[in-house]
């Protein structure tokens, strides 16, 4: 009996061991290495030197593009996560209704999510191309426009396109998270709300939103992390051009490391990004959990 109890104690850890080892080797260890590297001198060729304190961090913050890139990253995360959450929620509400072709609509929604981001970004590049882009071709053929439009006429517009593609590929994930939450809501709750005289907005506020909050929390936290760390869309569409005006932190630190060969500041930036992400995701999680506890 004792042996059995002991075995029950350590057996779960044994099952967890392979995953824990994988996480330790492929997640924790690299993070620790990056922290160590951020305090080390790294040559242009990639040779790692000695400890130099916070010099890499000072150099990173002094970079001319640092402020632009930080602001871009903030707008990138807020717009992509915020708007894709809003749109995903609305689409999930629609897809939760019973209508003909609902299954097909749900399947189509998976496509943007299931396609690689590089392909998505490349396809959008072709769509909005000035010279032979599909968008101009369609609009010209329909007679809606008489002359091709330069859809990428300024870097601000280029950045908006990047955000739009980011939203396009993120919406399906939010939709499916919310949809799973919506489907778990007991119909009797809506019936009770109707009996109490609640209209559409009342039911949305007092039944739907509280019930899907756990799903929304998961999708928002994961999206903050994914979108912040997203590399392919920005890199494929503009490579941060012109002059880092459309870079986010992740693409910028890549350019810094492998194009400008300033590997020290690039490593420091990646640590800064990691810490920002931890704080943002942590604050959001704590806030949501506290609200749930209060309720």
């Amino acid at each position: 009996m004792n042996t059995r109890l002991n075995r029950n104690k350590w057996e779960p850890y044994l099952w967890l061991l392979p995953s824990m080892l994988l996480i330790a080797v492929f997640v924790v260890f690299p993070i620790l290495i990056v922290f160590k590297l951020s305090f080390s001198y790294i040559s242009q060729g990639g040779v790692i030197g000695g400890f130099i304190g916070f010099q890499n961090y000072v150099d990173a913050v002094k970079l001319p593009a640092f402020k632009t890139v930080m602001l871009n990253t903030m707008w990138w995360v807020i717009s992509v996560v915020g708007l894709s959450t809003l749109l995903g929620f609305i689409i999930a509400m629609v897809l939760n209704q019973k209508f003909r072709g609902r299954k097909i609509a749900r399947s189509i929604l998976v496509f943007p999510w299931a396609t690689s981001l590089v392909i998505q970004a490349s396809v959008w590049n072709y769509i909005i191309k000035y010279e032979y882009g599909n968008l101009n071709n369609v609009l010209l053929n329909l007679g809606i426009i008489q002359q091709a439009i330069n859809w990428r006429s300024s870097y601000q517009i280029e950045f908006i396109w990047e955000c739009a593609v980011g939203i396009f590929v993120t919406v399906p994930f939010v939709t499916f998270c919310v949809l799973s939450g919506l489907q778990s809501i007991d119909g009797s709750l809506y019936e009770a709300a109707t009996m109490d005289g609640a209209g559409f907005w009342g039911k949305l506020r007092h039944v739907t939103l509280p019930m899907v909050r756990p799903s929304l929390t998961v999708s928002t936290v994961l999206n903050i992390i994914y979108v912040f760390n997203s590399f392919p869309i920005v890199y494929t569409m503009t490579k941060g051009a012109p002059a880092h005006k459309t870079d986010t932190m992740i693409t910028y630190l890549y350019m810094l490391s492998f194009y400008e060969r300033k590997k020290g500041p690039a490593t420091a930036l990646s640590v800064i990004g990691f810490l920002i992400l931890c704080v943002c995701a942590g604050v959001y999680m704590i806030g949501v959990m506290r609200k749930e506890d209060e309720q």
């Binding site: 300024s154 569409m237 012109p242 002059a243 005006k245 194009y259 400008e260 060969r261």
Partner: protein
């Protein structure tokens, strides 16, 4: 039983975590890690597939050199810097590397001098002007593997239709561009400009070299903020602002421009010698000709040469350094043999780096002769200077800033201060 099997599986996973990455080699065999850059769709086939008379370079080399194995990777240009830097950081640099830059590696003591492994006969076969581009402090650190030369390509039909001659000066370029705009009502771009992250340094070279400026001064010291350079970049930006060029030079790459040229949408573009092959592959039938890159009035234009290199890294852990150097030499000797090298160079339409290949290449394609003459008068990027990577990226950033109204003089001054100290 199920639990036992599951436990066994877990143990296998754990053990496998610690055991991958260890590869055993026979004692009497030397294995060279080689990284080759992917120049086009045929590179992989030629080195590893069936693109070399039904066989490939690795198979043929190993058959001809028993006791030497090649662990050869073909890596795309997009990934090669990441791959090499990561390997260096992990003390796992390749034995042989094909890439464009070398100065950082040489200055950090990572490379072997060429004389340590390259046979004398082969070294004497390289074009001396190419070898000069890889010398730092009287030591040659890399050998050229191929080159390309850039010149002005123009659509003969468009220029004839408009009734203008190909421009040779900046003023003529502006006049011809305006004439094309007027004639085609803006439907055809007169002039192609690529100031993207990958090619901004080329744009800098085209205009500054055509104005008596450049990356370095007569002593070879950095001089990126010279008045000639500022004037040249101002001129290039004015072409964009006057509507003579493709509309988005910061994001429209050389390949976008070549596509436009192949489609007859662009009248003139500075491009490498492979452009006719590229246009033909795209199904374009453009009546094209080449000319010198226009220069400012009273200045001489210069062709731009681009060269890639092969270099060997040190490996202190190799048990027999002499045998390793000899194996690297054999690799080079086999690669540059005319029967191999001619196929390699002509496959992607590049220009050769050794004299022994010239005759066979000119025989196969007489147009090579003219390009070899151009190559002889080319200027190359100052890639032997340690700060080249920063300068390359820095001038591109200044150009891109200028495209959105930035101050060219201030940008170049800041870059000069950063690289020249």
């Amino acid at each position: 039983m199920k639990k036992f099997l599951a436990l066994l599986l877990a143990l296998v996973m754990v053990v496998s975590l610690g055991s991958f990455g260890t590869v055993a080699y026979a004692d009497d065999e030397i294995t060279l890690d080689v990284i080759i850059c992917q120049y086009g769709p045929n590179t992989n086939e030629w080195f590893l597939g069936k693109g070399m008379d039904g066989s490939n370079f690795v198979e043929k080399f190993e058959a001809a050199n028993p006791g030497i194995k090649l662990n050869l990777d073909v890596v795309s240009w997009n990934d090669v810097y990441t791959e090499v830097d990561t390997r260096i950081a992990n003390n796992n640099a390749p034995d042989i590397l094909n890439i464009d830059v070398f100065a950082n590696y040489a200055n950090e003591g990572l490379l072997l001098p060429v004389k340590d492994y390259c046979p004398d006969d082969l070294f004497a076969d390289f074009f001396p002007s190419f070898i000069d581009q890889s010398i730092i402090d009287d030591t040659c650190w890399a050998v050229p593997d191929l080159a390309s030369a850039r010149a002005l390509f123009y659509n003969v039909d468009i220029l004839n239709e408009v009734g203008v001659e190909v421009p040779t000066t900046w003023a003529e370029l502006q006049d011809v561009s305006q004439a094309i705009i007027d004639y085609y009502d803006g439907e055809i771009y007169p002039w192609g400009i690529d100031m993207t992250t990958d090619e901004g340094q080329a744009a800098f070279a085209y205009y500054t070299w055509g104005n008596g400026g450049g990356f370095v001064d007569a002593n070879g010291d950095w001089a990126v903020n010279s008045p000639e350079n500022v004037e040249a970049i101002n001129f290039a930006i004015s072409l964009v602002n006057d509507g003579y060029t493709n509309p988005n030079p910061a994001t429209q790459t050389r390949y976008d421009l070549q596509d436009m040229f192949a489609a007859g949408k662009l009248a003139m573009v500075i491009a490498p010698n492979q452009l006719p092959t590229y246009v033909a592959d795209k199904g374009g039938e453009i009546n094209m000709a080449t000319a010198g890159i226009p220069a400012n009035e009273g200045k001489t234009g210069s062709s731009v040469g681009v060269m890639d290199r092969v270099m060997a890294f040190k490996d202190e852990s190799a048990p027999d350094q002499e045998a390793r150097n000899e194996a690297i030499g054999k690799f080079l000797e086999f690669f540059y043999r005319p029967e191999n090298y001619v196929g390699w160079v002509s496959m992607e339409g590049f220009l050769p780096a050794v004299n022994s290949a010239v005759e066979a290449l000119v025989e196969a394609d007489p147009s090579f002769g003219a390009w070899l003459d151009v190559l002889g008068s080319c200027q190359f990027y100052p890639a032997a200077k340690a700060e080249w990577a920063q300068v390359r990226q820095g001038v591109t950033t200044v150009e891109q800033e200028a495209l959105i109204g930035g101050d060219i003089q201030a940008g170049l001054d800041a870059l000069q201060a950063e690289v020249a100290g």
